[in-house]
């Protein structure tokens, strides 16, 4: 398989290069960068081994401009295009590849079926509303069957992935009701590789706190939309926090247990979660043990724990925001879409 990575010099792009470099079915990678075309990949990122050159043969080990990727797609073909570009720009740059390549888009551009919602949340008219019908929301364990068929996969981001995975099976089973209060702690890499004062080492170390709380956060409507699709009575109050982590995300969720759960969903919390995720390689159910972000650092796992407190339920989830919350899930979606082993090329263990 041949894969292109657009926006390859950001954190998610650089993680994608590593994952694809070790992927058993990918043998050619086209690294695209508008800012550094012509530069050798392993000199821009000295973390990459020069050995990656063996999989960069189409570009001679260098970043190329998107036009060059377009020529390759038209010529010998590109199977899958990963886009780690900013929203609005991503849809526009990806559009010409459709019909030739499957697009896995890590931006927000294809996450809402309704372009009006996109415009409300992102303050910009959707750049390519006609493409939305080709897209599936790329939460790999949840929309699995549609992901296998669609040509645009709107890869789910870190906050929605970590928040939705524990909730959705319980919502669909009718076990929870009312207001979902979800508090997330994120590592700093979630904000990307940008020249911003508030992302400096000296601003983030020994510092933690909430930001954009409640409905003001961009991901709240996206998460609430998926929740309501599974159970319309649910609503959401979501608050993200930054802490001095490079990578890692955990979410603590409080929700009321339904008073009259429907017969079909009458299993226990654990049974419902096991029924939803049994056999899936990247979900680990930890029961009453609360998962920690280090457990999943560097892996594509989402670990999920839970605890009843009277008539409320507490849910705990942990992911690596750059892997299961971005680049790892993107490769997982590629695996599903191309009929490969879902876990191919993806790390299962958290780093010590």
């Amino acid at each position: 398989m041949r894969a292109a990575v657009l926006g390859a010099t950001g954190y998610t792009g650089l993680v994608l290069l590593r994952l694809l470099a070790e992927h058993p079915q990918v043998d050619d990678i086209i690294p695209v960068s508008s800012s550094q075309p012509g530069e050798a990949v392993d000199s821009v990122d000295p973390g990459l081994s020069p050995a990656i050159a063996a999989k960069l043969r189409s570009t001679g080990g260098k970043f190329v401009a998107v036009e060059e990727a377009g020529r390759i797609a038209t010529g010998s073909g590109i199977d899958v295009v990963f886009s780690a570009l900013p929203h609005v720009k991503s849809a526009e740059v990806c559009a010409p590849f459709l019909g030739k390549s499957v697009v896995v888009d890590l931006s927000a551009d294809f996450r809402f079926a309704d372009p009006a919602v996109f415009e409300t949340v992102y303050g910009h008219a959707h750049p390519r509303p006609e493409l939305l019908k080709q897209a599936v929301y790329g939460l790999a364990e949840w929309h699995t069957e549609r992901i296998r068929k669609m040509d645009i996969i709107a890869n789910t981001g870190c906050y929605p992935t970590a928040t939705l995975l524990p909730l959705l099976p319980l919502a669909r089973a009718g076990l929870v009701d009312g207001l979902v209060v979800a508090n997330a702690i994120s590592g700093v890499s979630g904000a990307g590789k940008k020249e911003r004062l508030d992302l400096l080492y000296c601003e983030r170390t020994e510092n933690a706190g909430a930001y954009n709380p409640g409905r003001s956060h961009r991901h709240a409507p996206e998460i609430e939309g998926e929740l309501k699709a599974a159970r319309p009575s649910l609503s959401l109050l979501f608050t993200p926090h930054l802490a001095p982590l490079k990578r890692g995300m955990c979410v603590t969720t409080v929700v009321r247990l339904a008073k009259d759960p429907p017969a079909e969903g009458s299993g226990s919390i654990g049974e419902v979660l096991r029924a939803a995720y049994g056999g899936r390689p990247f979900i680990r159910l930890t029961g009453s043990r609360v998962p920690q972000t280090r457990d999943v650092w560097g892996s594509n796992r989402c670990d999920i724990g839970w605890q009843r407190e009277g008539d409320h339920l507490m849910l705990f989830s942990a992911i690596d925001n750059l892997v299961k919350g971005a680049s790892g899930q993107a490769v997982q979606n590629m695996n599903l879409r191309f009929g490969l082993d879902e876990a191919a090329g993806l790390p299962r263990h958290g780093q010590v």
Copy 2:
């Protein structure tokens, strides 16, 4: 004034030594350590300047055993005894000083008026139940008048301080109702200076997550008790989290706004908070700006922000767990008790 510090080699003890060393009214400090009596204070803790010796004249610059502190109390007298000892032990060691010295106890021993509650929460019969009637709960901004008079001040710890300060005025004014969902993020120093694997650098860096969630955390009953005293209809679901911070704590709280707030509390959230804390030197109301732990790092401040979300209220608070959450509030309580300027000797600015 002469002050003794029991348990002076732990983190709260070492912060107390620094604060007292710079306090304008304290001119003699008795540092007590059962593990290192006879050791020079500035060699055990090389962070201390040798200049502290000028205020350690009674002990020749050295840690002493508690018996020596007892002799000094009986002889020339000790005005105030700070205890940073573990619970159960603290009450026992402090008891003989009563009648001679004011006791500011940083342990949990005098925080519950009812010894049965102590026994339930800490799994140990209260060591000195007869002393409880002499004690006041040491939340400096809340029980100020009683703190000025009592001889045992049960210094409020970090989680209750950061959680209660934003909530109590609103609870008393009848503005909030029902279940309080409070999520706290704490720095690692809150767990003390102990030889525990889970507190190692390599276990805590790049790691975050909840622990002892819900009612299983020791401080939940203490916080809920104070909340119910202000407004009986409130209940609490409290979840602490650890993050890779040495010092710092922030709390994000969600609570429902009361449907029919009483006329007397009919002010806005901001008005009620300003009425409660106006003129107090260590409360900073930040309005819709969310306080971050670095803002208060090293200071005795509690910064408080808030935001309405439909019929719910979000509250945000940040403290330094070792200062306002422990040693700084202890000195503030001493200041109140001895009629000094409440802010004497206490840092107001967070460190860059």
Copy 3:
């Protein structure tokens, strides 16, 4: 006293504001910022307590442009102007204050007596060579007597301060010879508050290494110049390293012991250091115990240890790069210049 701070929104400027806010002899501070004039100081930096306003009365609690500071200097007068501006710009902006105010310049502009050396090292002609004769190199413990008299104090930076303080007395005493190999580890705040990718949290955490090694580092000629002034036979190989610290600097130095030390310097290493620094409040000699950066975090101290290894000597020093390596030493120099207690308003203890 009235003090102005130019470049008050960078890290050294913000530390200066804190130190001056607590200084017993300074009762008015003029905070100058070209980027944020008119902004309230405690809203730009939420770490500052609103209480600082009491010392910002001339500017109504706000940052002002430098022109306003100039008017105040001409009118009611400014005793001391601290400049935390970049090199070249600093000399130009400070020049008009001379004759009215003492200037403590934290940039490199007045550190070399010879403008040609400045031009070689900084690649820019010296902007005000005629002022150099009014300047003294502001290493507080070394040029103390001249600092008391001069009107421009070229405040010594972090690398030279930490490297020179252990070496200079031994060099002057003739105890060491030949090539000095000095390796420094610096906290990230030493690079300032700049929108640079290489200073992002995610780039610096879990990352350490040397940069600009050997003679390519700007501070090497400055350090070597002072060493040669004390003992011409010395030369220097200096290598700075970055590590994931916000604040802190340590230097490990290896140098050969002189074969024939002159009679006047025939004391032991410890005796020579004690003779040089005895009674100075911010030098702590630790003997064979190696100082660590945390020992001095937040303090104005430089801790110095040493160890003989055959015919070589190892020296170890630690400072807080923002305090003794920048703003603290600047206030110390102000204290010396104005005949105050050298230690007035300066922190002596490292933070826990």
Copy 4:
């Protein structure tokens, strides 16, 4: 292949489990722990995916006592035993496996050919001096041919690996002379997973400094021994430093260039290094670019840079202390010993 890991619950043991779990030629792992036999591996270390159980079939997914590993070795056989036990204990526990299994020992027990040196350095008589003749010093790129043949591989530790790899080819070529001044910065995991106060998060964050400087560090004689074997005129002054890193090590080395390099070694520094390491998968020569620890985080690489300064040479090297400095090199040595691809199962890229 079947591999046993002794001391599997420490940091190096847990990294070994991860590496072996992904190794293409290892299909059975025996995890040995004297402290937690009978415990499920993935519950003791929640970072491990439950999927590791497929390679833990001999022990049912659990840690076993060493006696059980001995029974398996005697019965169906164990190809390779990795020992992450403490020194002295390691040799004793490994001895019974010899003759049945190849031993890769990560302790110091087999690193000195002369037991008297071991006794001097470690203060304990060598527990099994008769075995030393079967051992090879396990610096994979240096003693490659002997590693292919010997039954005890004394895996080289982090400080010697990072210090020796840049120096040895230059020493052998006669290009450097005299005193080698090597300064290393290490991550905290190098000290192991031990209940020690000085390894607590709060003791190590925002803290850096040297420890055991000069000849007092245990690894100095080991490094100097290898240097002198390559060029007898060399001597060493080695100083390790701790910095707030979990993983990572860099070494900055200063040494004098030989005045009369022999004709056979007359190539440039770069030529000699390329001749020594060309084709080796885990050495990256970076020329004048100084490698940083993050470049190699999580990988088995050693990156090496260099710079001339007059008649001196500066060398810069970076490794991950837990991988190339411990467990990764151990697997590399296993690969060499069993005729596998040297790079099999080993990570080449540093983590983002």
